[in-house]
Amino acid sequence: MPKLTFQSSAERREFTDSNSRAIIITYFLSGMFWLMVGSTLAILASFKMHWPEFLGHTSWLTFGRVRPLHLNTMVYGWASLTSAGVGLWILTRVLNATIPLKKTLYAGIGAWNLGLLIGSIQILSGFSNGMEWLEIPFSSAFLIVAGLIPVALASLIMLVNKATKHLYISVYYIVAGYIWIISLLIVAYIPEYSSTVQAGMNWWYAHNALGLWFTPICLAAAYFFIPKVTGRPIYSYWLSLLGFWTLALFYNWNGFHHLIGGPVPTWATTVSISASVMMIIPVITVAVNHHLTVVGVFDRVINSPTLRFIVFGAMSYTFVSLQGSFQALRTFNETIHFTHYVIGHAHIGMYAFVTMVLFGSMYYILPRLIKWEWHSKTLIKAHFWLTALGIILYILAMQTGGIWQGIQLNNPDIPFMDIVENMLPFLQARSFAAIMLTTGHLIFAWLVIKIVWHGRTKRPKPITQMYQTGGKGYE
């Protein structure tokens, strides 16, 4: 690649953005498509849990198929495709590089979407692989891996060709995240495990899919956008490196805390419990960096759609991780294991943290790629409040309900059917939350369609200062 010289950093950004525009938008639109599919499935699954006859006579719409497909479309569709795009775009900025291998990347997106489509049909028609987070059968999952490999390769090429000397912390997280998810998927699809070992592998994988894939990408995004929009450097660069390496050291050992008390080696669960508690180190480190960077400039958080979502996400990360460390302890786990509480916990991770950070990233990236403002400030606010309040309601319902469920389950004098009945109001509240979240997603989808649709026409004047950093307009 020839070394290009630019008059100004603005000109360089203009160049890298026009270069990466189409490919990043393709990732985002693919992600948005699966967000819509996943939201529909979420509503179906949620209603079925308190209304079992609802669409209950159609085999392919039974709860046991719709619920795993909800997870897979959200995880491998919405969150993974969007993460791939967000990660690559941040690399173009922090490495001053253009995206290589574009044809391969497009082919990869095609394979990835095709894999998801075939996988969805397989799950609904009863050919699930049968393990949580790994339901997509190998025959279509390999297409998803085929979509991820060029992303990792592109990130490595950008790393080698970088025009900067310094490696910003986001690069560590993004490059490592791409390598980790591919390695994880390869190990997970080896078909050689015996039954209970497979259960251990299953949770080692599933916990790492969050910890070594979405967490790194979304922390990288928070590390990039928080200083960018506030105009302040991160609180401590040294701490950010400590946070990365301690995360890499401890997070991947956490998985067995999903099997406490189960028929797996006790030493393995003990190792995972210890590692879960050790996660306090990277979490506090990252929390100090993210939260202290916005202290004193909170008005910018309110005024920037990007920061609203990303700071909400960063706060959720601190909360969900500390909660995770404590719920791995045997005494607490005894109560909350096997309850809705854990479902609530997973949604703080995948939604209140990951999804909110991805929304925030798209709010920053799309106007800069397309050179067009977001259509409506009111709708952005509606999107934020529907999703923020929706997920808070979701978490309150699942976690208070779940703790109560656990206390009752551990009291053998309470008949099981009474617990089922007692949970109904919480499950209904969750369905209400699901409708709020989906309404938010529809609003966001409309905003995204609107901004992408206008991409080819003349750039308007910024409609509001809301979207800029310190009044500087598009950088």
Partner: protein, 194 residues
Amino acid sequence: MNKNLILVLGAFTLFLSSMTGLVFIPQQLANNEVEQDVRVAFDISQGHKIYIREGCIYCHSQQVRPEGFGADQARGWGKASIPNDYNDLTPHVLGTMRTGPDLANIGQRQPSRDWHYLHLYNPQTVSKGSIMPPFVWLFNIVDEDARPNQKGLSLPPEYKVPGKKVLPTEEAEQLVDYLLSLDQKRPDPETNAQ
């Protein structure tokens, strides 16, 4: 270049460490512990496939926790589970949720084949207020006088379809074979200790 290598190799090495510790070493230990050749009847392994296909694992666990950890045993769900309970059937069925009760010992707790058929056809018939979905596609609804050698399910009157009877399909039979095979007959209290 140095920093790039530290990043890539460091990240990958740390990944390999937990892969070895939590996946490969447990697999080696399990390989060393293999006792007799596990053979499962065809119908049971087919039933396990249907159990997976219909997503039973999303609401039912199959892992009884040891005495003193939760109330699994006090609820009569069985003995603490051990790796040999699973006949090495994969995908594993440990589950993570107890929206419904644990099924590790369901074959002993509910040995009635007819009860399981009714429950699968419509959970409300035997378990009022259940939020388990019906699995009607595992049943054939035929005219009362068709297939004279087969007796339909004895449904409570309010669930009867006039002039029709409900027959379990082969898949329902296999699923129930599997459920009834979940029976912790083993006489080995010592190995329960984890």
